[in-house]
Amino acid sequence: MHVKLPPFQVLLDEHRADVYRFLVATAGPGEADDCFQETWIAALRAYPKLRRADNLRAWLFRIAQNKATDAHRSRARRPVPVESVPERPVWPTIADGEPSLWATVRGLPPKQRTAVFCRSVLGMPYAELAALLESSEDAARRNVHEGLKRLREEWTP
């Protein structure tokens, strides 16, 4: 089947800002730049092989979510010298000047993290969010709901 994919630059122009904001919030300001480049390079690599031209934003954000998750994993493996062993894990850490809420968001499981951001900040429809998460719409709703619930429990303004 032949699909009409728009020029890649169109995708970049339309979604670059939101992808970057998503990564600053969910991967952290220190990891966002690297994740941003990894996301777009991976997208560019896979682009000609796409068999559908609908839901391109969901496809892009799925790649971005995976890059953010990779960054979390490699960060968790990186030893950080500390003077004494804290009672609670220090991750997620809060970057200078950023609202502590994002650090709490980064403490959520990946799907909830993505669901909360895409729904509450981008206003993404559930059908699109389901495509992004490769789940049913019900599961997408549950991820938003659970994520918000945990944020209310865990975040202190």
Binding site: P6, R16, A17, Y20, V24, Q37, L44, L151
Partner: protein, 202 residues
């Protein structure tokens, strides 16, 4: 839930509104390095208006007169590859030769050409057109003959009308038998300008 939704939106206001510009450059550089930039394009200013110039790793593939931008990029994505990215650095060489031509300091283009947007008889006609020198002219009938089909004058005209690389493949040097200007992809005013630049028209 509204409380936390509101807090999220407030927190979103502190996020950067755009990705840093140097990330774009780093991205096109890495895409080029990894062989992922199939079609690079940029806008190039000229005395005949802004041109959209596109290149593949093989060479110049498209020059379009202003105003066709979305259409032109869509065509490149469909016919060549959807990996189309704006990358001014990749068309520097083409820009330099075009500048020199329009300033009257260059009569021959040396940049490599990628004929991927042409086929068959049309390609043969355009390749012959590329051999017409600066300040010289030819006719549709003559080109049809040199491309191997003397009677296919109309087909030759069509091929010139859809020339993907005007200026560099000089279809403006092709006139009607008898001296009429004929048509031009970018409009007759541009054809006249180029012929004047080359001293054919005074």
């Amino acid at each position: 839930m509204n409380d936390i939704n509101r807090s999220l939106r407030t927190a979103a206001e502190t996020l950067p509104t755009r990705a840093p510009a140097d990330l774009d450059r780093a991205l096109t550089e890495r895409a080029t390095h990894e062989g992922l930039l199939d079609v690079a394009y940029a806008s190039v200013d000229s005395p005949v208006g802004a041109l959209t110039v596109a290149a593949t790793p093989r060479g110049l593939v498209r020059i379009a007169y202003s105003g066709f931008d979305d259409e032109v990029l869509g065509e490149l994505a469909r016919k060549l590859s959807p990996r189309v990215l704006e990358a001014p650095g990749r068309v520097d060489e083409i820009r330099r030769e075009l500048d020199e031509y329009f300033e009257g300091r260059r009569t021959d283009f040396e940049l490599p050409l990628d004929w991927a947007l042409t086929r068959g008889f049309g390609r043969a006609v355009l390749r012959e057109t590329a051999r017409i020198g600066f300040g010289h002219t030819s006719t549709y009938a003559d080109l049809a003959g040199r491309a191997g089909s003397p009677r296919a004058v109309r087909a030759a005209g069509n091929a010139l009308g859809s020339n993907p690389m005007p200026v560099v493949v000089p279809c403006h040097r092709v006139l009607r038998t008898g001296g009429g200007l004929g048509g031009y992809t970018g409009g007759l005013e541009r054809k006249e300008f180029l012929l004047r630049l080359e001293g054919v028209l005074v």
